[in-house]
């Protein structure tokens, strides 16, 4: 198990380097500059600024410097939020995005698996059909449709919850964004659980267990559930990544001070270090999520442990 983790971490290094490389050069070859404001700067200020941030150096040198900084955990200065380093910005934004993403992931997994199980108890019964149609509906509802609708109903009409804002993470402010983010993923998890169980229930080892007189809930929980969750776990890694990046929209709708908004702003303003910092961080997080999913997979299925 330890060897597996180590090997996966080693394998992720080229991926991360590729991400850094790609985003770095993509940003640099784009037209426009971080210092293009409302009115053009005079050439001297411009040159001074470029020199101050090292933008007058050959591009290879800049890249080398950036990588060196990265290896020391330094994402460099923000070019637009002039008084902050990228690390500062990440530290203010990441907790918000991470909290919302993690809560949504937990809710989606727990709710989705429970709904999938409930649907499987009576396959093709009325409950099953209705639940699965409902779940398809959820997966098809984009967060930017559900978000405003939830806000409309619970905040504006019923007045139970605030419309938007962060309120320093007070629970009432977190409910709606998390809910909007949860729903599509929950639908997908429920459908995967249902499909996984339906497939496992026709397999030989289930019939063998039935032959031993095991039935009902015990059959599902002991013999079917763990292998049936394998597709859910493979989905969970990318889903976690999706929730994190999907939070961009949620943060916009509910006006949350998360990382996604810094990213969109940074991209629009050509704030190279900020954009690259966020992309690199997210790529690292995605690698981490996939690693966790792999470890879980090994726990569920002894065959991959070798």
């Amino acid at each position: 198990m330890f060897g597996l983790i180590l090997r996966r971490l080693m394998a992720s290094i080229p991926t991360l380097l590729a991400v850094v490389f790609l985003s770095f050069f993509l940003m640099r070859f784009a037209p426009g500059s971080p210092f293009d404001g409302e009115r053009p700067l005079d050439p001297e200020t411009r040159l001074a600024l470029d020199a101050a941030y090292g933008l007058d150096q050959p591009i290879i040198v800049q890249f080398g410097r950036y990588i060196t900084g990265l290896a020391h955990g330094d994402f460099g200065p923000s070019l637009v939020y002039r008084d902050f380093t990228v690390t500062d910005l990440i530290w203010t934004g990441l907790p918000v995005s991470l909290l919302i993403g993690a809560l949504a992931l937990l809710l989606a997994m727990a709710g989705g698996i429970a709904i999938g199980l409930a649907a499987t108890l009576r396959p093709n019964g009325p409950l099953d059909c209705r639940l699965m149609l409902g779940m398809t509906l959820l997966t098809a509802l984009p967060t930017f449709v559900t978000g405003p609708i939830l806000a409309l109903v619970f905040a504006l009409w019923l007045g139970w919850l605030p419309v938007a804002g962060w309120g320093n993470g007070a629970p009432v402010y977190v409910v709606l964004p998390v809910l909007a983010l949860t729903l599509p993923t929950m639908g997908a998890v429920a459908k995967l659980t249902r499909a996984g169980l339906a497939q496992i229930m026709t397999q030989d080892h289930i019939r063998a267990a039935q032959g031993r007189g095991i039935s009902g809930w015990r059959l599902i929980s002991r013999h079917a559930l763990r292998p049936a969750l394998l597709p859910v776990i493979s989905y969970a890694g990318p889903a976690a990544a999706g929730l994190l990046t999907g939070a961009v929209v949620i943060e916009t709708i509910f006006a949350l001070p998360g990382l996604g908004r810094y990213f969109v702003q940074g991209a629009l303003n050509r704030d190279y270090p900020l954009v690259m910092g966020v992309v690199t961080l997210y790529a690292a997080l995605i690698v981490l999520f996939n690693l966790i999913a792999d470890v879980l997979y090994g726990w569920l299925d002894p065959r991959v442990r070798g």
Binding site: Q210, R212, I214, S215, P227
Partner: protein, 513 residues
Amino acid sequence: MTAVLDYRNVTVAFEGREVVQNLNLAIAPGECVALVGESGSGKSQSWMAPFGLSPGVAGGEAYLCGAPVIGADAASLSALRARHAGFVFQQPLTSLSPHLNIAAHLTEAFTQAGAPLPDQDMLIAALADVGIDRPAERLQQFPHRLSGGQRQRVMIAMALAHRPALLIADEPTTALDATLRREVMDLLNRLCRDRGMAMLLISHDLASVAHMADRIIIMHLGEMIETGPSDQILSHPASDYGRELLAATPRLTDPIPVHPVIGPPLLAANEIAVSFPMPGWRRPPLQAVADASLMVHEGEAVAIVGGSGSGKSTLARAIARLGPCDAGTVSWRGLPLPPRAKMRPQDRAGFQPVFQDPVASLDPRWRVADIIAEPAHHLGRGATRQFVLSIMAECGLTPDLADRRPQELSGGQAQRVAIARALITDPAMLILDEATSALDVLVAGRILDLLRRLQRERRLAMLMITHDLAVARQLCHRVIVMDQGRIIEQGDTEILIRAPHTDISRALIAASQ
């Protein structure tokens, strides 16, 4: 004495279609009854549906240890199965839950009839009883670490752990390696006799159950054709179907067949070696075939026999340039064959393969006539419909099949199509990779007849891969025995069968008896 299992006019229906009709049987304690039939005979459904293990609907009356089985609700039926019956299935590889270790499986089996939790020693004893080596170690292992034979032994230990009155074994050895079948059958036999347990044995192979069953029931298309003591059925079957079934199974005791005379050398393979990379880090590659040489003459049939994993198919594919080949040379009529990637259609025309799974070896989207004509198409000469039809007729296919697709054919018809395709280039040799082993007994017998006729009429040479020496003996002049990638013995078929030199050969002979 009351019967352990008592069937009275049992029927099984699927979506209103009856697959089992009016089955009557009674198994006394300690008795072994074999239910024999081809696929589609309803032999498996006749126990799965009444016991609630398939979606089929059972009618009539059935009693297990005096308690009604048909009509019982799911919960009491489940309890009844747990208490009185044990099951051994055909698929040992997939019948254990992959995420539970052997100890968990056995514990579940011990307690299924309400017994207290077994201790470690009982579990170890149960494994030792079914002939598993190092039982204490195995308890903590997961099913995927065990071989097919070991898994089937674990299934047997589980089926017996709660001391059931009845053991139902559905094709318990069919999925196992040929060299193991006899052993597992004998194990089942011994355990049943020792414990005075009744057994219902389901099989497609009349010969293989003959020595262990007290009585045999032959089923065909859902109906019981005949029943009686096994020696009587084996020596004087009363029904035509029974006689046919018996005659279709080749046995080593059949009269010595006469093989056609052979000509000059046709194909020579020299020091063939094949290895496969293994998954994982720095694991050495698996040497599937090493240092194998063989020769086939014109009109000569040569069998390569061996257990699964012995490398016999890999060797044949390497020779036919249909699989990887690391080293060695193959010459055809004295000229060397190019490597796989450089083979031209005309290089391949002289020898054509026929595979095990007949339906899977035909493209499901093509029509029969196009499938048969494909090799001629690649040769650039094509084939007229007239010619295709004449080849089809030679293989026993009627012209109306020409425009069908593979899924509309029976297994036997599909295999005839595959043979017709192999013949369209007028080859000098066929490579038969277990060409009859996926077919039902009667169908396999007829395919074997067809092959023998083609061998005579076309003076075809054959390279035949099989695990069944009795089948090989029907066609082949010579036999090559392989084990772990090496040729360990070869010689004239009759001589090798009478006087084998190696244990592997002896095991293969025992399995074919």
